[in-house]
Symmetry: D2
C-alpha cells in the first residue's frame, strides 16, 4: 500500500516540474507526470501546491540541560514544532558535561532524543582537544554516525577552547572525513567588554549586544579560517551574522579553501533595534551572536545569493520570556537585573521554511530551487545525510512537504508549537505556508492537525561531509 | 512504444541516485528504482554507467562565413561532433553582416542551421546599438525565441561597439528580460599592441598571445560590469580566461550584482606554452582570448568550485591547420607570415563533457552533480532552455547521455568528428567517456556508431534567462 | 641686501621648528634659530606665524580660449588670485587646437603666460597620440622644460583619445622620464547617458552630475592604471573625486605600480547636494568630474591621510555665473536651457591653502608637515620643480608664505581676486589665513595689499618627475 | 666653539640640498649654503658625502637578562655597535620580571642603560593588563617619558596576554596618548604546532620556522587591528614580516584606522632558505618571527614604497652562535638538540642604515629622503622623539651621520662591533657606508676609529606619538 502525491509542482535543488510522487516503504518509489492510484493507496491532492523535500535544520539545542539552565523545548515538543514548520530532520548539538566522555555524553543525548517526532542526528561538541578527547573522535565518526564536531571560540572559562586546541581538533576531524563547526566570536575580548559593562552598571539587555560587537565575530571567523587552512581541514561556521564574517568566508572560498557557513532567519530578518524595546522586552532577543546593526542583513542575503553562504539553520535554543506557570522555572526573567544572567538563546525551529520563502523567494527573487537548496539539500549534503535526506529522488526517504506558495499568514507565538511563550518573528506577515508534512511516507502534519507521535523519529547515522 | 534506460546511476545537478528512466514522446515520462519494460520497448542497459542530461553548449560558431573566412564545420558536421561528445543542444552565435538587419541575419542563420543533427538555438550579435538596432530587439526576444545578445569590446573597426552602445544595449536587453553577453577584451589597446608588433616584425603566432595580455581582459570585464551595473542589467561574460577577470566577476557578485560567466576547457587545461611549439604549430592555438600563463587555469578551477563561474562552453570556431585537399581553402596557413591573418578560433565542441569529467571530477574533486550543473543545467537555465533542457526530470526533453566514468581513452583528432584536422587537446588522457546519446528519446550515438541524421535537430525558442 | 623673516615657525614637509630665514638673490641663504638683521635688510616679523614654502598648484586652466568659450581669468588675474592664496607657482595646462603642433601651441601659451605675477610652468595636453604627435614629445621634455602630458578619457569627439593612443602616449612619456596625466572618466558611456537625458528633456544643471556617475570615474581610473601598467609607465590621475577611483589607485600602489593622484578642495568639502540649489544656481558647480554623493569626501580625506593621494590641486577653470557687464560674454548662463552648454569649470586657485589648513589640520588632525607636503612639496617633486620649489631649504627659491594659523575668516567672492563673480566655497568659515607672500624673495602680498606686478612671474623649466 | 660640517649634501626626510651645518651646544644652530669656520671651530669636510640625521632604532633588546638566558650585547657594546652603523638613538624594550612592578623594572633598566654610548629611551613591556598594571601606566607616560607599551600575542605561559588584556591595555594607552606595540603571532596555535613537532622528533632549527607559519602572523596582526579599532587606539606592529600581515595593515589604514608597522632588514634581505644551511648553522637565524618564504621580502619592499610600512628597526637581540670562550655561557648551541631551546633572536643594530641604503635606494629606487624617513624621521616621530631626533633642522640635537653613498664594502662579523660572533648578513656586498657619526655635536665614530665612551649617552624622555 502506497501513498500518492498528485498534481503538485515538484521542487528540488535543481528542478521545478509538475510531477506525481509515489511513496512506499518509507521511500520515494516513482516520479512521473501522472501516477494513477492503485487500490488502497492513500492519495494527497497537491494541486496548486509545491512538493518539497522535507527541510533539514542542522542547528538545534533541544532539551539542553546545564547546571544553570534548561531549554524549554524537549525533543518531543521541539521536533513537533519543527514538523509543523516543514522540517523533517534536525541535527542537534550534543554537549558533554565538563569532564564527561564523548560516548557517555552521546548516550545521555540518545536517551532524551528517543522521544523525537521526526528524524534526528547529532553533532558532538568538544570542550577540549587534549589527546584523550581526540582519541574518542574516531569511534563517534565510524561507529556512532556522528561525523561533525563543534568547538567554541567564545565563552572563556566554560565552553571556549584555545586556538591550539582548535587546530588539533580541526586536523583530527579532517583525518576522519568529519566536519568541524565553530561558534566564532572572540571570547576573551567579549569578556573584557562585559567586565567593563558590569563595572559601569550597564546591565540592560541591549548591553548583551553592545558587548559582542560585529567586529569580534568577523575576527574569530577570520582566525578560524586561518587555523583550518593550516590544518588542511574543511570548516563550517555556525550562525554567521555579520558582513565582516561573510567577507572572510567569501575571500577564503575564492582562494579555494573549503569553508562553509550557515546563517539563521533572525540575522536575515531582524536588527539590533529590537534591543531598544521598552522594559525588558529586549531580553527575548538575547542570543549569541546578537542581532546586528542595519546593513548586515542585506549583506547576508547577498551571501546566500552568490553561494558564499550555503545553509540556513535556526540555532533553536528556546526559553520562555515569562516564568512558566508550572514546570521549569528558567526564563529570560533570570537576567532582569543583569544581562549576563539572561538565558542565551531563542526559539525558531518552526518558522524557518516559511520565513525563507518570504525572504528569499518573494522579497529577494531567489529561485524556488535555491530556496530548497539552502533549507534542505545543502545542509543534508554537508552533514552526510544525502541522498536519504534533502532531496526528492527515487530512493530517497519519503520526507515530503506540501507548501502553498500563495497563502498569506502572520506569525503568532499564540499559534506556534514550541513551548516557548514568544516568537522572534511575532507579527511578520508571510506569503507561503506549510500544508502537509510526511516523514518516511507517513503524514504527520495535516494543516493545523497533528497526526504524528513522539518516538516515531529515528536516529540517522551520518556519513562523511559532501559538497554543498 | 517507449525507450527504457535501466540500471544506471542518474546524475542531475542535485541528485545522484540509482534509477530507471522511461522516455516516450520525446520526453522523460517516468523515473523509478525499477521500470519493467513493456512489449516493444527499446531497452538500454546502463549498468555501470552514469545517466546524464544531454550537455548544453552555449557558445559555438558553426558555419560562420565572412568575406575573409569561413569555419570548416557546418551545422551538420559540428552538431554531429557535438553529439559524439554528449552535447545535445548548442546555442550558436548569429552574426549579422555589417548593415544587415537582425531578422534578416537570423533568417540566413536558420537556412544553414536546418541541417543540424541536434537541437539548436541562436544568440544574436549586435554590431551596433543605434536606435534602429535597438528597435529590432523586441521582435527577436518575443517572436523568434532569441533571448540573448552579444556585443564585442574587442575588434575595433569590425565587431567592436563603444561603451555608450554597450550601455544602451544592456539597458534595452534588460527591459526585455534578455541576457547580454560580452566578448570582453580591450580592443583599442590590443590594436595598439598589434601595431607595435607588426612595426617591429614580431609576426609569429606567439605574438597573437603577447598582444592580448591578460590585463586587457580583466580590464574589459571590469568595465562591462560597471556598465551593466549602471544599466541595471544582468551580464554574461563569455570565454573568461584570466584571474583578473574572475576577480572582477567575484567582486561584483559579492556586491549583489547579477553577473555570470563561462569559461572553456582550453583555458582550464592549456597554457600559453603551446605557443612555443616549433614552426607554425602555435597557430593551432590562435583564438581570442589566447591561452594564458600558468596560474590562470588553477584560478579558474577555483572559480568553478566556489560558484563564481557558472558554465563551461567551448567557443567552437573551427579551422583546419593544413589547407584542406578539397573544398574550402581557409586554414591556419593563411597567417604563416603574419599572425594577424591566422583565422581566429579552434575546434572543441566534441570534447567538453569528457574533459570536464576528467578535470572537475577526477582531478579537482568536484561532485558529479556540479559537473552536470556547469556543463548542462546552469547553461540551460541561464539561457532560457530550462526545464526542457539541462536536466532529467519527468517532463523534460529526453536528451540523455550514458557515460562510462571509468573508461580510459586518449583524445585524438584522427578519431574525432569535427572536420577540423587537429585538436587542441591531442594526446590528453581522460578517464570517462560518452557511450550513448539520445536526443528527444532517439538514440543518435551508440559507441562509435552514428545513428542520427542531418536535419533531425530542432530549433528551440528560448525564454527569459533564469538563475544559474 | 637681504630679506629676513624672523621669529616664525618654519614648517616644511618634514620639519616644524622655530627658525629665522635669510632670503637673498631670490634664494633662501640661511636658516638659523636667530639671524640678526644687517644694515639695509628688509625684516619681516613672523611672530605667531607659520613660515611655509610657497604653495604649488599643479592644475590650472588660465586664459583658456576655445572656439566655444574662454575662461574669465587671464594669467595676470589668475596668478594674482593664486598669490593672495599663498600659491607661488602654478603648472597650467597648454591645450593645442585640433591639428596644431605641440611647439606652436606652447608658443601661443607662452605669449599669454608672459603676464603672470608668479612663476608658471606648463603641462602639454595631447589630443592624439599618432606618430606625428609622439615625435614632438622629446623636444618638449628636453628643450622646453615641459615634462608632463595629459590625455583625456572623456569628451569623445573633442578631447578624448582612445585606449590605444593612451597606451602609446604612456609608453613614449615613460621613455622620456615624463609623467602622464589623465582626466579619467568614461567618455562614451557618459555621452550615452547625456543623449538619454537630452532625449528625455532632463536639462537642468543637476543632470550634469547625474550623467557623470561616480562609477564611470572609477572605471576609467581602473582602466588607465591597467594601461599604464602595460606601458611600464608612471601615471598621475588628475582631480580624482570618488571612492571607487581611490580604491583603484590604492590597490595599484599596493601592487607596486607607480600611480599617483591629486584631488581638489571641491571634492573634499562639497557634495552633490549643491546641485539641488534653487533656480540655476547649481550651474556654479558644473565641472567635470561633478561633485559627488555624501561619503566620497570622507573617503578622499582617508586617501590623503594614508598617502594614497599625494597632492591637492584646484583645477581652476573659471567662468562667471552672471554675464559680465563688459568684456567677455561667456558665462554659466549659456547653459540655462541645456546643461550641456554650461561652461564646464569653476574658480578655486585662491582658496586652496587655507581650505586645506582648515580641512586637513583643523578638522582631520593632519600634521602641519603633511599639509605642506600635499599642497607644495609633493606637487613640486612629482612635476620636477623640486628642490627649487616646494620646500624651504637653503638654496631653494625664496618663495615663502607667512600664515596665521589662528585667524578666523570667511570665504567671500566679494573679496577674492579672481575675476569670477562667485566662489564654490562662499560662506565657509576657516581658521588660518595667508598674511604675506614672497616670490623669489620679493614680497608681493602683504595682508590685503597687492605689491606684485604682472610679468614678474618667470617660466620654470621642469625636470623629470620625482618621488612624492 | 662650534663644529662645522662643510660641503656635504644634506638629506632629510623632505630635502636633499648642498648645505653646510654648524653644530653648537649639542644642537644644529645654522644651515646655509656656505658657513665659514671661525677660530677654534672643528671642521669636517663632507665633500662627496651625505649629511644625515642620526638614525633611530626603535627596537632593541640590549642586556636583556632572564632566568633562562642573557643577550651577549650590553648597553655599552650594543650602542657602540649602533653608533658604528650610524644609529644615534635606540629605544630599548624594558621587560619586567613576572610580578615585578613597572617602575621597579624601569629602575633596573636604567641601571644597565647608564653605560650607553648613544642616547637611549625605553618602551615598557606589559605581561598583563590587570587593574594593578593599568594603574601604573600614567606615571610611566607622564613622569618617566616612557610613552609606549608592548604586549605579546605569542609565547603563551610566559609573555603572552589574552585578547581581553590587550583590549584593556590598548584603551588605557590611548587615553594617555601613548602608543601600543604588539608582537603579533598566534601563540597558542604555534604552541600546538611546536608540540606536534616535538612529538614527531622534528627538532632541527628549521622547525622553528615551520612551526611559526606566515599565516599565524597575518592572523594575529588582523586580530590586533580589530582590537585596536574597538579600543579606538593607535597600534604599532613590531617586526612585521609577512605579506598577510602587510595586507591587513594596508586595509586598515585605507579604512582610516591609525595602524603603523615596522619591518626589519632581515625580513627584507633574507628568506627561509637560510634554515637549510648544513649542520646547525640555521640556528643563527632563529628569531621570531622567523625568516619567510621567497616572495614576502618583495612584498614588504612594496609596503615601504607605498607608505603602508613606516619604519625599519632591527629587533637587535644578540646571542653568540658558538659558546664564548669566557664570560657568558649562553649561545645558540643550547638548542642543538631541540630548536625550542635555541636562544631566540639575532644581532643587527650595526648594519641597518647601510643595508637600507643598498636595498631601498640602490636596488629599489627609493629617494634618499624616503630612506632617511624610514630609518630616522618616522621612527622618531612615531615614538615622541621628534624634533629633537630624526631630522637635521636648526634646533634639533646635533646627531649627524656622514655617509659615503659610493663606497663599496662587505658585511663581515669579523669586523663588526657587536659582541655576537656572527652576522645575519655575512658576505652581503653593499654600496654606501657610514664614515663619521656625531652625537649631540660630538664626533664619536671616525671611519673605523672609536672616539666615544660608555656613559656619554643620555636617557631621552619621550613625548606623545606623532604622525609618521
Amino acid at each position: 500500500m502506497a501513498t500518492l502525491i498528485r498534481h503538485g509542482r515538484l521542487v528540488t535543488a535543481s528542478d521545478d516540474i509538475p510531477a506525481d510522487l509515489r511513496l512506499e516503504g518509507g521511500r520515494v518509489v516513482a516520479i512521473a507526470p501522472s501516477l494513477p492510484p492503485g487500490p488502497g493507496d492513500e492519495v494527497h491532492d497537491a494541486t496548486g501546491l509545491l512538493v518539497l523535500p522535507g527541510a533539514v535544520d542542522v542547528h538545534t539545542h533541544l532539551e539542553m540541560v546545564t547546571p544553570r539552565m534548561a531549554t524549554i523545548d524537549t525533543f518531543e515538543s521541539g521536533t513537533r514544532a519543527a514538523a509543523f514548520g516543514g522540517t523533517t530532520t534536525v541535527i542537534d548539538y550534543c554537549t558533554p558535561a565538563r569532564g564527561q566522555g564523548l560516548l557517555a555524553a552521546l548516550a545521555d543525548w540518545h536517551r532524551l532524543a528517543e522521544r523525537s517526532c521526526i528524524d534526528v542526528a547529532a553533532h558532538m561538541c568538544l570542550l577540549d582537544a587534549d589527546s584523550a578527547t581526540l582519541q574518542q573522535m574516531p569511534a563517534l565518526v565510524r561507529d556512532e554516525g556522528v561525523s561533525s564536531f563543534k568547538l567554541f571560540m567564545a565563552y572563556p572559562g566554560s565552553l571556549m577552547v584555545d586556538d591550539g586546541a582548535l587546530l588539533h581538533a580541526l586536523r583530527t576531524a579532517a583525518g576522519l572525513d568529519a566536519l568541524t563547526c565553530v561558534h566564532a566570536e572572540n571570547g576573551p575580548a567579549i569578556q573584557a567588554l562585559i567586565e567593563d559593562a558590569l563595572a559601569d552598571g550597564r546591565l540592560a539587555p541591549k548591553f548583551h549586544a553592545a558587548t559582542r560587537p560585529a567586529e569580534l565575530e568577523g575576527e574569530a571567523v577570520h582566525r578560524a579560517i586561518c587555523l583550518a587552512g593550516l590544518a588542511g581541514a574543511p570548516l563550517y561556521v555556525v550562525h554567521l551574522s555579520t558582513a565582516q564574517a561573510l567577507a572572510a568566508v567569501r575571500e577564503a572560498r575564492g582562494r579555494g579553501q573549503r569553508v562553509m557557513a550557515e546563517t539563521c532567519p533572525q540575522y536575515l530578518f531582524l536588527t539590533d533595534r529590537e534591543y531598544a524595546r521598552p522594559g525588558f522586552e529586549g531580553a527575548k532577543f538575547v542570543m549569541s551572536p546578537p542581532l546586528r546593526e542595519a546593513g548586515h542583513p542585506e549583506t547576508l542575503w547577498r551571501g546566500l545569493a552568490d553561494g558564499s553562504l550555503q545553509a540556513v539553520a535556526t540555532d533553536h535554543c528556546s526559553f520562555c520570556y515569562e516564568v512558566p506557570a508550572q514546570g521549569m522555572r528558567y526564563s529570560k526573567q533570570q537576567g532582569v537585573a543583569d544581562f549576563t544572567r539572561i538565558p542565551n538563546g531563542a526559539p525558531g525551529v518552526e518558522t524557518r521554511l516559511a520565513l525563507m520563502h518570504e525572504g528569499a523567494v518573494v522579497r529577494h527573487g531567489f529561485s524556488l530551487q535555491r530556496w530548497v537548496e539552502i533549507t534542505a539539500t545543502a545542509p543534508a549534503r554537508l552533514f552526510g545525510l544525502y541522498p536519504r535526506k534533502g532531496t526528492l529522488a527515487v530512493g530517497s526517504d519519503a520526507d515530503v512537504v506540501l507548501f502553498d506558495p500563495a497563502e498569506r499568514w502572520t506569525i503568532r507565538a499564540a499559534e506556534h508549537h514550541s513551548l516557548a511563550d514568544y516568537s522572534l518573528f511575532e507579527g511578520i506577515e508571510l506569503t507561503g505556508r506549510v500544508k502537509k508534512v510526511f516523514v518516511r511516507g507517513q503524514c504527520i502534519v495535516d494543516g493545523q492537525q497533528w497526526r504524528g507521535r513522539a518516538g516515531q523519529g529515528q536516529f540517522v547515522k551520518r556519513g562523511p561531509s559532501g559538497h554543498a
